[in-house]
Symmetry: C2
Amino acid sequence: MTEPDSLLSEIRFDARGLVPAIAQQHDSGEVLMMAWMNADSIRATLAEGRACYWSRSRGALWRKGETSGHVQRLVELRLDCDGDTLLLLVEQSGPACHTGRRSCFYRAMRDGALATIAEPVAGGS
Amino acid sequence: MTEPDSLLSEIRFDARGLVPAIAQQHDSGEVLMMAWMNADSIRATLAEGRACYWSRSRGALWRKGETSGHVQRLVELRLDCDGDTLLLLVEQSGPACHTGRRSCFYRAMRDGALATIAEPVAGGS
């Protein structure tokens, strides 16, 4: 069995053929974003050593950072107990979020309201 | 606007009325699990200060740790840029995973195959 197949056979894709994937900065532990993968994007991620998602809005493979340069180099790919969620440990170049923030999770409930807790970072990696 | 409503109005629930929620140990950064929430479970989580999910298999609220004692005390609730994923920073009592492991993400691709990288922990918190 090839490398991707040994993983793909353990994944429980949803009815759309997708599985949620959490991207986490491998050394700091910061959760950067959550996106979706299908079998093809998982094969591409393993083959290329960089996160490649499935864009639900565009209906196409989404090589993270292909236009922005904010690539996520794959450090390790993990699978949860019931096989329906992936965790990607990555080395994130620059911001993960399209708003220019390091993480997409920049809003937090504080004092009973949603507060912005991070600002866009300057420049690249 | 009440506390839950100020959050709920920013969340983009899917067609089932659900949103994925990532649970992360607040101090170590370890990603523990991913589960689903609906509006009621979010209200319960905020009101009770502990993670309460929506069990898709049982079609009912799932107060994490209600039977096992392995409660997730809520430290902070965050929302991502496009409002379709939650990140819960929690204080996890004991294991998060039903297998007895601290995290559900205990399988990793290593040397081209899925390897088990964590064992069940002994006892409680």
